[in-house]
Symmetry: C2
Subunit: 112 residues, 2 copies
Amino acid sequence: MQATSDVDQTCGMSIAIDVVGGKWKMHLMWVLAEGPVRFGQIRRKLDGVSEKVLAENLRQMEASGVVHRELYAEVPPRVEYSLTPLGESLSVALKPLEDWGDQHRDAILSRE
Amino acid sequence: MQATSDVDQTCGMSIAIDVVGGKWKMHLMWVLAEGPVRFGQIRRKLDGVSEKVLAENLRQMEASGVVHRELYAEVPPRVEYSLTPLGESLSVALKPLEDWGDQHRDAILSRE
């Protein structure tokens, strides 16, 4: 008998996990959904993320096509991050998950 | 000025991330949505997960109230994992994310 994996690495959930897997990326989607933000603003909103990890996550989300990085040639230069149209559609797809958390907050927190 | 975090740790997305944060838990939700499964079956479906990590993730999801572990007193004993009603509702909330991945598969895979 040949051992094979049943996971189709291109199934929808695998693709989505590639893009928002890990806790920071889902938090980032939530922060970015509110509109363009600067790096420092994101860091203040995400308690506990290091500069290095935040930069890496934003780069990966830019590579996935869900985040846009805009550099404004000011002094000092200003960089803003926002969702691309693909990112906006992902944000919409994540909304039911956020609503689920809201609806079941008490049941889940009471177990912790 | 006092530095404070804007993240409400009890917001819906934070709760959801607590429950399904990390790549294995979202994969696990996807596997468990198909019905009760045994530990070995899950391992075969999730390519690359170690026994230790899988057991830990299942324990955490049981603690969150989304996974039920049933022990059948057979010889040898049989253990099956399934979604609780809370887990079923989470599975429904994750569906749009899976659909998003399906819909944008080509756009995302072409960037990798």
